[in-house]
């Protein structure tokens, strides 16, 4: 009997340990995903951010510089000062870009928080590159941008004209208190920098002036493939 009790106690302990390990692993995964999202979001806030966004394609670009440089060593070691200078320059440039991008996602969150309305999940959207490929001209133009603006009162059809005036390539639709802007071929890139620039311009030219005329409750941005 005592043996069975021991086994049961051991089983409970094992289950508790397993559950704790699962929780830890899930926490680690979530933290890693969050860091990854933040890295991509940070990269979107600076020009040349694609090089520091953790995309493997940046290594391919680097190899295009490194391999011919290595071949130079077979030709004449004295020529190596050029690739050394080039690599040092690239490293310096990347460091500048990296330093400039640090805290970019937080700055974007702070920027979104200053609005008198809610801008839903802004830095999370900036940190999402799912479905994207490297080439600007492959998956890039096929991205679909949807910006939904929830107004505090029913909107008039003239608001759709404002959005079309802001972006003639976009389709604008009003339904009740919801104003929606859809763009079927949003220019993609290796980071979400085009989206950041687009939304910043939208906020400055449309959202804030519109909010003064007709209060906005919430804005959500979605970029999908």
């Amino acid at each position: 009997m005592a043996d069975l009790d021991d086994l049961a106690a051991r089983g409970r302990r094992a289950r508790a340990e397993r559950d704790a390990a699962d929780t830890r692993a899930a926490g680690d995964r979530a933290r890693a995903e969050e860091r990854s999202r933040r890295l991509v979001a940070d990269a979107a806030t600076v020009p040349l951010g694609f090089a520091i966004a953790g995309r493997s394609e940046a290594y391919a670009l680097l190899m295009m510089v490194a391999v011919p440089s290595l071949l130079l060593t077979l030709e004449d070691p004295a020529l190596l000062v050029w690739p050394i200078g080039l690599h040092a320059g690239i490293l310096g440039l990347l460091l500048v870009v990296k330093l400039a991008s640090l805290g970019g996602a937080r700055r974007e969150d702070a920027w979104a928080a200053r609005f008198p309305f809610r801008l839903e999940g802004w830095s999370a959207t900036l940190g999402d590159l799912s479905g994207r490929t490297f080439g600007r001209y492959t998956s890039g133009p096929s991205l679909k941008l949807t910006i939904a603006i929830e107004l505090s009162a029913v909107a008039g059809p003239e608001l759709a004209d404002i959005l079309t005036g802001f972006d003639p390539k976009a389709e604008a639709k009003v339904s009740g208190a919801r104003l929606e802007l859809r763009r079927a071929s949003f220019p993609g890139a290796e980071t979400n920098r085009p989206l950041l620039l687009y939304v910043h311009r939208l906020a400055k030219e449309v959202l804030l002036p519109l909010h003064e005329k007709q209060p906005i409750a919430q804005v959500s941005v979605e970029l999908a493939t």
């Binding site: 060593t73 077979l74 030709e75 070691p77 690739p83 050394i84 690599h87 990347l94 990296k98």
Partner: protein, 208 residues
């Protein structure tokens, strides 16, 4: 995530370190072989061959005739037209020796010191470049000479002693020289110069 975030920086730093090491280390890439050299009035003419593009160039080293120390190095020509640039028969002293592609060795024969060369791939070909009375100021003991392997398959030691004349940079020191393609020699009006065939550096020179 750390690799994702900093991996590119790490690769760049590693590449920079690698390139820096390649740039400033004494040996660069595939061995550059000394194809030929000659000594004339304190100037050492060296023709090198090597590298991925099989580039040839000719350089001129000014060496101190007393100590053998390299004073100045100048690349004279670097082109496929090396023969014209070198002007090997016209510009240089008649004592100019075209040196072996890979091997050079000493040989004692009939109580004389002979400097013999053998080209790679031509095992049977030897050429006598110079001869010297064993009692002369350049001393290479008969025992040591006898240890030289004509096939070039063993390592041998060459002991140089300064006996009058110009002092040797490595006087009295033993130099261990792998036979294959490491040392090449030039002989010019009594001056013998040993050059590292990989680096082109003058190892020693002396008056015969």
């Amino acid at each position: 995530v750390i690799l994702k975030e900093w991996g590119l920086f790490l690769v760049l730093v590693a590449e920079l370190a690698g390139f820096g090491w390649l740039r400033w280390q004494p040996f660069h890439g595939p061995a550059v072989r000394i194809q030929a050299l000659a000594v004339q009035e304190g100037r050492l003419y060296v023709e090198e061959w090597g590298g991925a593009t099989l580039a040839d160039w000719l350089r001129q080293d000014a060496i101190d005739p007393q100590t053998g120390v390299l004073l100045e190095r100048e690349v004279l020509a670097r082109s496929p037209q090396r023969s014209q640039a070198f002007g090997r028969s016209a510009a240089l002293d008649p004592g100019f020796i075209e040196l072996p592609k890979r091997h050079a060795s000493f040989k004692l024969q009939d109580d004389k010191h002979f400097l013999r060369t053998r080209c790679a791939g031509e095992r049977s070909t030897t050429r006598v470049l110079g001869a010297r009375d064993p009692d002369g100021p350049f001393a290479l003991s008969a025992d040591e000479l006898a240890r030289l392997d004509d096939q070039g398959d063993v390592r041998w030691k060459l002991r140089l002693e300064a006996l009058g004349g110009a002092p040797l940079p490595d006087a009295g020191a033993e130099m261990v020289c792998p036979v294959r393609g490491v040392l090449v020699f030039a002989l010019d009006r009594g001056r013998l110069v040993g050059v590292d065939a990989k680096t082109g550096n003058v190892l020693w020179h002396t008056q015969l």
